[in-house]
């Protein structure tokens, strides 16, 4: 599909604001159709595994475990939102200990500056991770080196490891095959934005089901 076919008014050589607004509104509706379809695909492929994963996460919390989340860029904001969701859930739900590694900018920049960016998540996990804890890492490409190193370290510690990726899973799919990621959820899309949106739904559902498992 060409840019011209997506936004014909922009290429008509005239500044027709109403025409462009119509094109842009149509593009908005197309994107909403895409994300609805992607959510359906994730549910069809992974509905059962999401439920099993929520049970496993609930078991770790019940044993006194904590959740440690990590990711880069937009995925770092997902890591923070997910940790917040467990620490400060809806009033009927139980607050659970969770922390995002990207919120600690001092540790993050110290490690990036002194050791290397690929170790910014592995080091804090090596320091604090326990067997009863849960590691959740997010990457749209599935190829972020620091997220992969974080999973390897968490797996060494015996933690439950949960990953979110996109495209075909990339290097995170290989890590899952090696057993370093216990539950990997891949959003089968080539759009970074739709991948992030489907990941957000999936971890929201995982959090809600974890609370349901604990009740």
């Amino acid at each position: 599909m060409t840019l011209e076919s997506l936004y014909p008014f922009l290429h008509a050589g005239k500044a027709d604001v109403n025409g462009v607004l119509s094109d842009v509104a149509r593009s908005t509706r197309d994107k909403l159709t895409e994300i609805a379809k992607l959510r359906d695909e994730v549910l069809a492929a992974d509905g059962e595994r999401i439920a099993v994963c929520a049970t496993a996460v609930a078991q770790r919390f019940a044993r006194g475990g904590r959740m440690i989340t990590f990711g880069n860029g937009g995925s770092s904001t997902d890591a923070e939102a997910l940790a917040t969701l467990f620490c400060a859930p809806r009033s009927a739900d139980r607050p659970l200990p969770a922390m995002s590694l990207t919120s600690d900018v001092a540790t993050l920049t110290a490690l990036a500056n002194d050791v290397g960016f690929e170790l910014v998540f592995a080091r804090p996990i090596a320091a604090a991770g326990r067997e009863c804890d849960i590691a959740v890492g997010l990457s749209t490409s599935g190829g972020s080196a620091n997220v992969l190193r974080g999973f390897a370290q968490a797996h060494d510690k015996g933690m439950l490891t949960v990953g979110f990726a996109g495209y075909s899973g990339g290097a995170m799919a290989e890590a899952a095959e090696r057993g370093e990621i216990d539950f990997l959820f891949v959003m089968p899309s080539a759009s970074v934005h739709r991948i992030q949106e489907a990941q957000t739904t999936t971890y929201h559902v995982l959090a809600e089901l974890t609370q349901r498992a604990l009740q």
């Binding site: 593009s27 549910l43 059962e48 957000t200």
Partner: protein, 200 residues
């Protein structure tokens, strides 16, 4: 005791997303008009100031990354600032002025009339976001709100330029629609910016 869950539990929770997604699609003209207005501000040299509390603070950080570091190669970086991103500043302002003034105080200090204020509130009732948008309006910024529930007090704010409201009482569902909405805002702002003839 840990309850056993099945795919039926997952399906039931996923299903709650369907109606709000369809509803946002019917609101596409509202999204388009907000994009056009935001593109006009960027074209004039304005910046985006984003703010929200709780998970919405993460969304403010996310939308800023979208604008400053575009995922699509060749799209230019646009100036954006997350007002919820500095815990030292946030806690200092909260201590001095109270929680409700934490964003308004920053908008007052940093906001320029050409800028855009983008406030997030999943129930439309966050007092700090409302005050931030009111200060933004008073300074002359374009005001855009991503809301949920029934829009709350923020949707009723006099002079609010653009409100995109997700009609759901589930804050998680609202947040997901907000993520899609700001991805679309970013992408479509660039469509307008690529064709400055429609910006004047």
């Amino acid at each position: 005791m840990i309850a056993d869950l099945t795919a039926a539990d997952t399906a039931e929770v996923f299903a709650r997303r369907s109606a709000p997604t369809d509803a946002l699609a019917t609101d596409a003209q509202t999204v388009a008009r907000a994009c056009h207005a935001m593109a006009q501000r960027f074209h004039r040299g304005g910046r985006l100031l984003a703010f929200g509390a709780g998970s919405a603070a993460a969304d403010a950080a996310h939308v800023v990354v979208e604008f400053v570091h575009p995922v699509i190669m060749g799209k230019r970086a646009l100036p954006a600032v997350n007002l919820a991103g500095d815990p030292a500043a946030m806690s200092a302002l909260t201590e001095r002025h109270g929680t409700d003034e934490s964003f308004a105080a920053q908008v007052y200090l940093q906001g320029q009339p050409a800028d855009i204020a983008l406030g997030f509130s999943v129930d439309g009732r966050n007092a700090a976001v409302l005050r931030g948008l009111e200060q933004a309006r008073d300074t002359g910024l374009l005001t855009v709100a991503l809301l949920g529930g029934h829009g709350g007090k923020i949707a009723e704010m006099p002079g609010l330029d653009h409100a995109i409201t997700v009609h759901s009482d589930d804050p998680l569902v609202v947040r997901e629609m907000h993520v899609t909405a700001y991805h679309v805002l970013w992408e479509l702002v660039h469509v307008f910016l690529d064709h400055p003839g429609v910006l004047t």
